[in-house]
């Protein structure tokens, strides 16, 4: 085939290549459309089946509700505006929890990198803290800090900080030795080494930790709100559960799914901004 194409004139050759490219493009477009289609079908089937099953009492509508009921409840709550304080509160707690969690975790990781002695001393404590279910400390935070925003954020931090520290510190230690050598050879101080090499080399891991923390923060906030809140989506879930209004529980879950997805996409956007242009070696 190669020999043949060489024999062709330049023009036929480029035409042939262009045709191949067009074929490839249309094939990949067809594949993309098919994926979207199957996705949509799954969603419609799921919601439709749920609706039918609920209306026909194949499943207990008191327990599992069904989509149109949930939709109506959501619309009502949006119309009378009663939903927004709950959404605002929970989103506020989650965002503060996950930004602070990542920052504090990174800061502790930096401390451990800076003082290897401290890192060796703290190692077993970090391992124990990491394997402990820290949400169990929630009641203590609530008593100590009073019920409300602060104690919920601190509960969230207890979930995110340790794992962030461990992940990022491990990355700090695994930064390519040669890159560190390059700046050391220029007489860089430890702070400069940290700033010029360690931090930028760890950006991808810091971002992926941010992504994990989106999920973890929601866990922390939910637990906190279950325990104490008078406001928030976690409160709505617990309230719905107590009055046996599972439509309210599921409606809250739908909102959480939407907000969590938006937060995740924002982090992805940030990732693209921060790591634009670079690629792994």
């Amino acid at each position: 085939m190669t020999r043949k194409s060489n024999a062709w004139s330049q023009e036929t050759n480029s035409e042939w290549l262009a045709a191949l490219f067009v074929k490839h493009k249309s094939r990949s477009r067809r594949r993309t459309v098919a994926v979207m289609l199957v996705r949509a079908v799954i969603l419609v089937l799921f919601i439709g089946l749920w609706e039918v099953a609920g209306r026909n009492k194949w499943i207990d509508p008191l327990l599992f509700s069904f989509p149109s009921r949930i939709g109506n409840l959501l619309l009502d709550m949006i119309r009378d505006g009663s939903i927004w304080p709950h959404v605002g509160m929970t989103v506020g707690e989650t965002v503060v929890g996950f930004v602070l969690g990542t920052l504090i975790g990174t800061l502790i990781a930096a401390l451990l990198w800076w003082f290897p002695f401290v890192s060796r001393v703290l190692d077993p404590y970090l391992v124990v803290l990491n394997s402990m279910p820290k949400v169990a400390l929630g009641p203590i935070f609530i008593v100590a800090l009073g019920p409300g925003f602060t104690s919920i954020v601190v509960t969230t931090l207890s979930v995110t900080v340790i794992i962030t520290t461990l992940n990022i510190y491990n990355q700090f230690r695994e930064v390519e030795e040669g890159l560190v050598k390059v700046v050391r050879l220029f007489g860089a101080s430890r702070l400069q080494t940290f700033w010029y090499v360690i931090i930028p080399a760890s950006f991808p891991v810091i971002i992926s930790t941010l992504k994990v923390n989106v999920g973890l923060s929601w866990v922390g906030v939910m637990v906190g709100e279950f325990l104490v809140a008078k406001l928030g989506l976690g409160y709505l879930i617990i309230y719905g559960f107590q009055v046996f209004n599972f439509t309210l529980v599921l409606a809250s879950l739908v909102i959480i799914a939407i907000v969590a997805t938006v937060m995740y996409q924002l982090v992805t956007l940030l990732e693209r901004r921060l790591t634009g242009g670079r690629r792994e070696r």
Binding site: L179, K181, L185, G187, P200, R278, R281
Partner: protein, 277 residues
Amino acid sequence: MPDHGKLRLHNVTHVYVNDGGASLAVDSFNLTVGQGEFVSLVGPSGCGKTTVLHLIAGLLRPTRGEVTIGGAAVTGPTASVGYMLQQDYLFPWRNIQDNASIGLAINGKLTPDAKSRVRGLLQELELSGTELRYPHELSGGMRQRVALARTLATEPDVMLLDEPFSALDMHIKLQLEDLVWDTIRRRGQTAVLVTHDLAEAAAMSDRIIVLGRNPGRIRLTLDVPEELRRTSPMEARRHPSFQPLFEQLWEEMDVEEAASSSVDVRKERNGHHDEKV
């Protein structure tokens, strides 16, 4: 040959100590390199070539003895000593221009003047047009040229070359040897090259030092004939006096390899020196 020493290692001994024990890497090493001289260190692996280079760069402090550059003792790495590594180690998140000027940034000398000098350097090394591109977009030879630009940007007067050509294809390697040799000559820099490639050492340097291993010490010093010193590496390889020099080096290395591959000899030597440590 220049009369005064730009670079001196005086009775330098280096011991690596770790959990596995202490081992003697370089023993009572003496070396004087004149201003503008190009010296190569060759020897079998494990002969302490790179350790010597690290000592000169200030990355390591000698366990005993003293290293001086221009009469002043070396206390740590500075930008006035340039160091080229075996790999380019460009920062993937910095574009080429920013990679080349990292040394200036670290030393707080990234003035507009310095920036334009870096652009000039990139041009001189035939890298113009790549300033805003990222390392992964460049070929291996280009990347190593960027690493050279990065080293030259801080205008060092001593250049330490730690096998900087060994990871490259033959063709690119020869080109880069010429380029590096030429830039160093034109700037009148003092250079120390560590290599395991005997032809490279013969083609580039004024003086070749053959090291023996366990521990590292000078076995032999060979002066490169005047006519080879003056010609570029590429031409030197074709010069009639090149082959005899290369063969002489080859024989020396053969003897050294034979000696150090004998385990008994090595053990005896090690034991002897451990007592001294």
